[in-house]
């Protein structure tokens, strides 16, 4: 990681995705949105699993505006890479795949490609975007987020808070406009997002480490085991993983999620068990969540997150063997 970058999440890539996720993730609860943000303009965060469905590299996520019929495909780059690595993600087959996932049979949607990076790399990506547009014949826009937050007055607390700014990058040599004038105006002005409003979501990264998945999903499973929706119920593992994918807008493969969920139930049988024959999860009717369990739960999660990836997997294997005995 560059020393000039000061971020909140585990790595720059996750941080850049989480910034947009925090500005555009729509929860299941419907309601009016008038707030000036990407969501306010109708752009909804959608992480569709194009790589696994179509077996091709694709941008990290889409911002879909069903009202204005615009899809913004965003590729986040927390470091500098060469243009040849990006070309495939912005190619025509990817555009066709996006059209099919948004079910654009009538060819109504306009698709825009965006590279989202830190402001300090903007100059580098200007050349990359220029090369890609020359070769593929399509415009690529650049969005930047400040690499270091700005300390500003916070009206809510009366003190100060650290803010990051997301804006569209333009220079004398490089100026591409969005189809949507309102989006163009909003991003030209810049969207301020306070450090505390950024929800780091590790599951938006398809290559997230096992230990991070275990850490995050063990807590999700604990919450699920206590909720009215799951407590005492018997549900299919795939249904549970689909809920995870929906709640986190995750593009982590289902097989990986099932593997981690199985490990979690083996390590914490107090929450429920997985019936391997029917691939169902049986949540406990009265999960025994007491002080002792919470201490153990926290201890295991902290141990695993502080280990290296291979050591973490080994540690979980040992725990599982101990439980089986």
């Amino acid at each position: 990681m560059s020393s000039e970058i000061k971020i909140k999440c585990r790595n720059p890539h996750e941080f850049l995705i989480s910034i947009i996720y925090s500005l555009s993730y729509a929860s299941r609860k419907a309601g009016p949105v008038l707030h000036r943000s990407l969501l306010g303009l109708g752009y909804i965060f959608v992480a569709l699993d194009i790589p696994s469905v179509f077996n091709m590299p694709a941008p990290d996520f889409l911002l879909v505006n069903t009202r204005r019929k615009i899809v913004v495909a965003v590729e986040c780059k927390g470091d500098t890479v060469e243009d040849r690595k990006l070309k495939k993600k912005f190619s025509d087959p990817v555009e066709d795949a996006i059209k099919s996932v948004v079910q654009d049979d009538r060819n109504e949607y306009k698709i825009e490609f965006v590279i989202h990076t830190f402001d300090i790399f903007a100059n580098h990506y200007t050349h990359v975007a220029h090369n890609i547009s020359e070769e593929l014949g399509k415009d690529v826009l650049i969005w930047t987020t400040t690499a270091v937050p700005q300390v500003m007055a916070d009206s809510a607390t009366g003190g100060t808070a650290e803010y990051y700014t997301l804006r569209k990058y333009t220079s004398q040599n490089y100026s591409v406009k969005h189809y949507d004038n309102e989006l163009e105006r909003l991003l030209a002005q810049g969207i301020l997002i306070s450090e505390s409003d950024i929800a780091c979501n590790p599951l938006v990264d398809p290559d997230v480490e096992y230990k991070v998945l275990f850490y995050e999903l063990s807590e999700y499973t604990l919450r699920a085991a206590l909720s009215d929706k799951y407590r005492g119920r018997r549900i299919r593992v795939v249904e549970f993983t689909n809920d995870i994918k929906r709640d986190y807008q995750s593009i982590v493969k289902i097989d990986r999620l099932i593997g981690v969920i199985t490990d979690i139930f083996e390590v914490f049988p107090e929450l429920g068990e997985i019936k391997r024959s029917s691939m169902e999860i049986v949540f406990k009717k009265r999960p025994r969540i007491n002080e002792e369990f919470i201490k153990k739960f926290d201890d295991i999660r902290k141990t695993i997150i502080n280990k290296s990836e291979s050591e973490a997997k080994k540690y979980i294997r040992e725990l599982k063997t101990r439980r089986r005995k």
Binding site: S27, G31, V33, S196, A225, I289, D299
Partner: protein, 367 residues
């Protein structure tokens, strides 16, 4: 909310219903769910048989008139629809209810409204405790006559109340002074907190007393006999707006941000995705006290599961999970206060959970 509209509805309602200045009047904002409204005819037919002397007149689509006549005693209620700025997005219609009559009859009509599904809104304690400041800003002098309060204590999922008491302060100039000088010592000594149920006060304009009024936690304004109506109607929109915003926050999980520039007022709805609780006494002592509570894995009061994520100085991050519902929030504490955000995978922050978290940090943070 269209301020002039609501004032006009109340003013015309009172002028139409009140024949005699010695009869008290109450004004309140109420919410009527569409599905309950559709069942109005069958509900009212049933109620009419049970409530002696009740007659209901549907004046037009947006107006109802309820009359209660029991011999010499009479009371009348006007129910008139008002259109707030967010009317289209609300799951309920908003009504202003003006009831003229003595206390018992007013209560009977209020019960009828409740039975047909017309629900009242509420005022937050933080608003009630600063009501005098709102009134003073309208160039009026505020004199607190009595304060009805309840001592409450949170115990797990529910709160226990140590009974209602009436407090008649003498020589007290503001609600804050009444609370600090007389009531807070009780609160601190016994581990309860003061929950204000209603306030009765006198208003003075240019050195002349204009009347006696009361405001309760349900946002009901009562105008005592021979009190000036127009003066209190100047404050009605502020109370109505507060009730409406609370309702939006509760029903839609959105908070309302208001921008006022000269005579223009714009409203923004923001997802209630973040709640900030400022420290009563900011500094390292506050931070260390919070750290003691949420800096290690534990279960608070058999209700909130605490899982620390990052314990540093001057920043602490913990995940708090409601043991009853499984809802999760991320708590970020600094020297100045505490911020609550929904944990990934959680839709929003439940009001009851916020209450529990507030109870945990009681005396440390402002409401």
């Amino acid at each position: 909310m269209m301020n002039d509209d609501i004032i006009n509805v109340a003013r015309l309602g009172i002028a139409r219903l009140r024949k005699d200045e010695t009869v008290p009047v109450s004004i309140q904002l109420r919410f009527w769910d569409a599905w309950r409204r559709e069942r109005f005819n069958e509900e009212i037919a049933r109620i009419r048989h049970k409530v002696r002397g009740l007659s209901v007149d549907v004046v037009d689509e947006s107006t109802l008139l309820l009359n209660l006549v029991r011999g010499e005693v009479k009371a009348v209620a006007l129910v008139k629809s008002v259109d707030p700025y967010i009317a289209k997005s609300l799951p309920a219609n908003v009504y202003l209810v003006v009831i003229v009559g003595k206390r018992d009859e007013r209560e009977t009509l209020t019960k009828v409204l409740h039975r047909i599904g017309m629900r009242r809104g509420w005022l937050k304690q933080v608003f009630i405790k600063k009501l005098d400041e709102v009134i003073v800003s309208n160039k009026l002098k505020f004199e607190l006559l009595s304060l009805v309060y309840e001592l409450r204590m949170y115990k797990g999922r529910i709160f226990t109340a140590a009974g209602t008491a009436n407090f008649w302060p003498k020589g007290v100039e503001s609600i804050k002074e009444a609370l600090e000088e007389y009531l807070l010592p009780i609160e601190r000594a016994r581990g309860y907190y003061i929950f204000i149920k209603s306030l009765r006060f006198r208003l003075i304009k240019d050195g002349v007393g204009v009347g006696t009024y009361s405001v309760d936690r349900w946002g009901r304004i009562t105008i005592a006999p021979r009190s000036d109506v127009d003066i209190i109607l100047g404050i009605l929109p502020i109370i109505a707006e507060s009730i409406l915003n609370n309702y939006i926050e509760y029903k839609l999980h959105y908070t309302v941000r208001v921008n006022r520039v000269r005579s223009y007022t714009t409203y923004y709805l923001e997802k209630a995705s973040s709640i900030y609780l400022s420290a009563v006494d900011p500094g390292s002592d506050f931070f260390n006290a919070v750290k003691l509570m949420v800096g290690k894995p534990t279960i608070w009061n058999n209700r909130l599961i605490i899982l620390p994520v990052e314990v540093g100085n001057p920043r602490l991050v913990s995940r708090i999970i409601d043991k009853q519902t499984g809802m999760g929030v991320t708590l970020i504490a600094t020297y100045n206060g505490i911020r609550l955000l929904p944990a990934p995978g959680s839709v929003g922050i439940d009001a009851e959970m916020i209450d529990n978290i507030l109870a945990m940090f009681r005396n440390l943070v402002n409401e």
